[in-house]
Symmetry: D2
Subunit: 384 residues, 4 copies
Amino acid sequence: MASKSIGIGLIGQKFMGRAHSNAWSQAAKFFDLPVGARLAVVSARDRKELGAFAQRFGWAKSTPKWESLADDPDVDLVDIGTPNHLHAEQALRMLEAGKHVACEKPLARTLAEARVLRDAAAAAGRKVKTFVWHNYRRAPAIGLAWNLMREGRLGKIFHVRARYLQSWGSKSTPMSWRYSAATAGSGAHGDLNAHLVDLTRFLMGEAIVDIHGAVAPTFVTSRAVPGTKRRERCDVDDAALFLATFEGGAVASFEATRLAEGHLNDNTVEINGERGSLRWSLEDMNVLEWCDAEAPPRLRGWTKILATSAGNHPYAAAWWPDGHIIGYEHGFTNMAADILRVLGGKKPELPLPDFADAYETCRVLEAALLSAKHRCAVAMNDVP
Amino acid sequence: MASKSIGIGLIGQKFMGRAHSNAWSQAAKFFDLPVGARLAVVSARDRKELGAFAQRFGWAKSTPKWESLADDPDVDLVDIGTPNHLHAEQALRMLEAGKHVACEKPLARTLAEARVLRDAAAAAGRKVKTFVWHNYRRAPAIGLAWNLMREGRLGKIFHVRARYLQSWGSKSTPMSWRYSAATAGSGAHGDLNAHLVDLTRFLMGEAIVDIHGAVAPTFVTSRAVPGTKRRERCDVDDAALFLATFEGGAVASFEATRLAEGHLNDNTVEINGERGSLRWSLEDMNVLEWCDAEAPPRLRGWTKILATSAGNHPYAAAWWPDGHIIGYEHGFTNMAADILRVLGGKKPELPLPDFADAYETCRVLEAALLSAKHRCAVAMNDVP
Amino acid sequence: MASKSIGIGLIGQKFMGRAHSNAWSQAAKFFDLPVGARLAVVSARDRKELGAFAQRFGWAKSTPKWESLADDPDVDLVDIGTPNHLHAEQALRMLEAGKHVACEKPLARTLAEARVLRDAAAAAGRKVKTFVWHNYRRAPAIGLAWNLMREGRLGKIFHVRARYLQSWGSKSTPMSWRYSAATAGSGAHGDLNAHLVDLTRFLMGEAIVDIHGAVAPTFVTSRAVPGTKRRERCDVDDAALFLATFEGGAVASFEATRLAEGHLNDNTVEINGERGSLRWSLEDMNVLEWCDAEAPPRLRGWTKILATSAGNHPYAAAWWPDGHIIGYEHGFTNMAADILRVLGGKKPELPLPDFADAYETCRVLEAALLSAKHRCAVAMNDVP
Amino acid sequence: MASKSIGIGLIGQKFMGRAHSNAWSQAAKFFDLPVGARLAVVSARDRKELGAFAQRFGWAKSTPKWESLADDPDVDLVDIGTPNHLHAEQALRMLEAGKHVACEKPLARTLAEARVLRDAAAAAGRKVKTFVWHNYRRAPAIGLAWNLMREGRLGKIFHVRARYLQSWGSKSTPMSWRYSAATAGSGAHGDLNAHLVDLTRFLMGEAIVDIHGAVAPTFVTSRAVPGTKRRERCDVDDAALFLATFEGGAVASFEATRLAEGHLNDNTVEINGERGSLRWSLEDMNVLEWCDAEAPPRLRGWTKILATSAGNHPYAAAWWPDGHIIGYEHGFTNMAADILRVLGGKKPELPLPDFADAYETCRVLEAALLSAKHRCAVAMNDVP
């Protein structure tokens, strides 16, 4: 066990608050780390719930004032698990205070906000580290994919196919911060395409250089406000699709939606190269499918690899024997472990996205939205 | 057995020649039809092979002159299974001669050609029937999907997701008519997206009204000419992707490629609606996946239906007991049966595409290519 | 095309009559064969249907008297597609007449009957060939599996797991010849385990030497007789399971049933060896799943091979381009082609089962039934 | 959070020690429980590792003497995660001391041992609770299956098909306690069939009444002893298969093996009933496949249900939003929560196995081994 430890200050106690709390408390149980994590303080607006939450997950202190984390000497890293519109203000404040910051994705509502954060991180100097919780990078199956791509096992890449399909956005779903541009920035686009853009940029190790078109419909234009008889306007996309080109020439398609019945949390990425293809799907996240295009033709096909093998698949050694799968939350724990490695002066198992990196993801998202808004669609009317 | 019969004149003896010959000879063995098919005459350029081909498949006559079919009194319907650049000339000649015409897809190389054919078919009058071999409409699983959509079982449609992925187009594949615009019109686009556009238009029963962007790269720009030391330029797309909107507001993505290792013949279509979703894949063509969004939540998910049940799935009664699958060629046989029904004055099991319908498919393909060519892509350089 | 041809006399016009008729007429269209098949005469009891059947499938003559085939000089091979209780009498008569015989499976109702047939085939001499329609041996994916096993790619075999699950045998299914021992011999056992025993013996290339226990329940003990108000007793098994050992030490489990909802025609065979495993399933019959135990651990898993590649997968060259699947009936066509090769003095693509071979399969089935009947089950009551 | 808490004393720090430690520390973070768990003391033989282990997982004390837990007033429940040969001695000692006991499976090496434990548990009185870690009962998908069966949704059951296939037992795997009867009792049988028998008895809610045959081969008869040049004899089964009948007439097949390449941890259970079928597989443990035999035939098939929905699937509410999967270890956490509910006077979400229940599972395992040993196999030699 590490003797030194990093004091964590968490903001947020909802879905992400739970996932992050769990990650910080699990990391040192399963990984050998140069430094541990101390659950120093948790902050959240809802005072009524906060005490119980802090006790449940073992946070030493709790406070409704997130600003206080900036001055708290127990806090080395501030972990931001709040809605998107709070990221910028909170992260800026903490960077100014010299704290490391780990922020939920998307980094910001808009590219302008993301740029401010990127610049603030740069200004804070090399001693201050930033991280963005693109947790799916940490699935062992994705780690295997990343390794294969680094080794050139796919050869020249022709196609990237990425989609994140969910189905919780029907017209009966009530209004929430996620349906308002003021709080969320965008809808499925910033929420789900953010994951896809990060994941494909990470795997490809290349920039996206062109957007070839986009469409971002809002299917449900108003929703009931819980506890009232009012409906509010939804001004974000329910779905967002765009086509793009990577630097090396690969064409890519992205699709995010909350209205695809049959898909609960279907983040699926496929890459086709000259020497092989690979495919990964979050709903079956322990599996990497791999097609070796250099296998003898009679034996060629998709191989379903259960990426649970210690020594063979990244992060797997920390968990259970081969064939014993891990779940959603382990991506956060694996990432917490890598953050602690970095803060302890070691290398992470796989590269971590910082604010500069997440800014690039936001830049692609913004360009796609621009393409959808100022679109030059060909109307079929124009084609006789 | 039918006492009357339709005299078939086939042009082509390659892949499609074999598939069509088989379809015409199998149809009356498995279906009860108002009229039979007489294999009257087959025409093809390669005289050396033609005799054996005709004998093998039971064609009564053979000729290297396709034009002669126009005047042959034994021929009621001319079936065109030649490369794309021959469709227009051959079909026009036969329509003028008053023959029914069944033409391979895509109907034509260009929209201009397709328009001529559409107009010629209209001019030929109602007694002359035209058909286009969009054979995948005839898979029983697609028939079930079509029925479900007609019944409104999917409700309002949000998403159409169509892709046709193959992998035979690597740089080692030699030059052929398929890689030249002069003979093929386009590459993967006309070959594969033609299927997808037809299939989704058929299932949706709606027009495509907008194209939101497209990209159609040529990854391999020259290929070796077989039997020579020359290479020739490839001036068609290796892949073509585009985004579109259907009349009712559903957004759609289309992708065709010949460079997706792991996919041999993967024509996959998925539709997501308010009340349910469905999915079909050619490599496992007997299966329809169906998600009933109105099932109790605890039992909701994708149901894998093996569409082989007589009385329950279109065309299935003609074949084998439940659970005994059919293959690729059966789509043609089912379509030949439907053509013979129409020519015998009966209704087909499912609607058949004629030249006017195939023209609409060509119109979408052309608009997508236009979008790819005169594109207003957002370059990432423009996004600071 | 072959100039010589084999005159076929078929007995039966139901399910198997259709499948065999199709196979004989398709074989020479798709394969290059040393001899062709002439559809000389078809025989069946139901005169009313027989004429139309003969015309539909192109049989030159038809007769309600199957015995007449024995003396018909147009007939070289008699193809028996009748219920099980007729196999022995019909096959014996034709062997005595010096005809080649291709008999449906199971070869006979009982081992005693099978023995008589085996001996009669031996007595008929080497010029008279016998065949049994274990058609699943002819799936290209099974052919690939057979090749892999012959090459030792699985190494020492530990496990054979075979099951044939159907679901048409509920209590509402009416009485038929399949539910009576007098006509069928046994139930799911002879119908379905016959396929499994043949297939696993074929793949393993080894004898089964021990039966370790069996159970063969009759869940539905009487059924309504169609067109009457009577019910008749069902005296055959609805399901039959047994455990066995192959000569080389592999342990095997067999299960056949007509009462497994969710399974329509699920003939699944898996083999696990020291160097690899393979798995095949009839409902997805174009696929072979293969696990190479010598692949690097990080890439190890099941590879899904679509066995449709000409030159790489047996029989595939006769059909369509890669990725275009074949169906149930093609097993019969592939087998008809192999029979015609053998009768034309050539080697079949894969070994064909003759009466002696099918007798060995019957011997295993009989031993399993014996084990089920004279069982020495351990009752839980005996275990305190 | 619960104010009262149960003091846990754990024996074992290997695979199960880690899984149980995690479960006790996670339970109260994710579930609302009437009592919490205090990680009071951990005991294990290897002193060198013990301190670090205790610190890592937050155990208050540690001791190499497991016996001391019996007298430790901080300990309310002793959790036994040791090799099989230690279960009996340790559990007996703790029951005598009046501690609750949660013991790893299989409960004991032999039926005789299991009987002693069952009787000791009974003698300890109703205030002392016993539990056996048949953790797979706690997968939400299994909970859904259990609910469906309780509601009669499958109707009369015909078939139970259970297999647990692993592949870590090749000849290169070194000797360990798992390969010796003295320490393990049996091999794959007690290790893996124990899970299957428990799981199927749990789902069926019925006793197994007959064993119809069994085979339990040892394929690898000696193994290298690590750190030496010696080999030791393996006197347990590498695989164990048996056939059985449940009280209500369903026939069942069981198979356990460590020599099935391609399967890492494949615990698969399928049940076929008159009204429907269900299937579950540990490697994809969040999924329940369900076939509703009363669905309209055209829509009938296997539905793949991702059992992650709060309110709809047992235990799911404790974890993440729908579509965010859980992993292997969560079965233990869910079970720890249910144990704490029981000790806090509440009902568990699903029934928990106690020593009396686990004894019944051992009884089936023993009967199967008896059947394999005193087998009355039919040798094929006896069948002429």
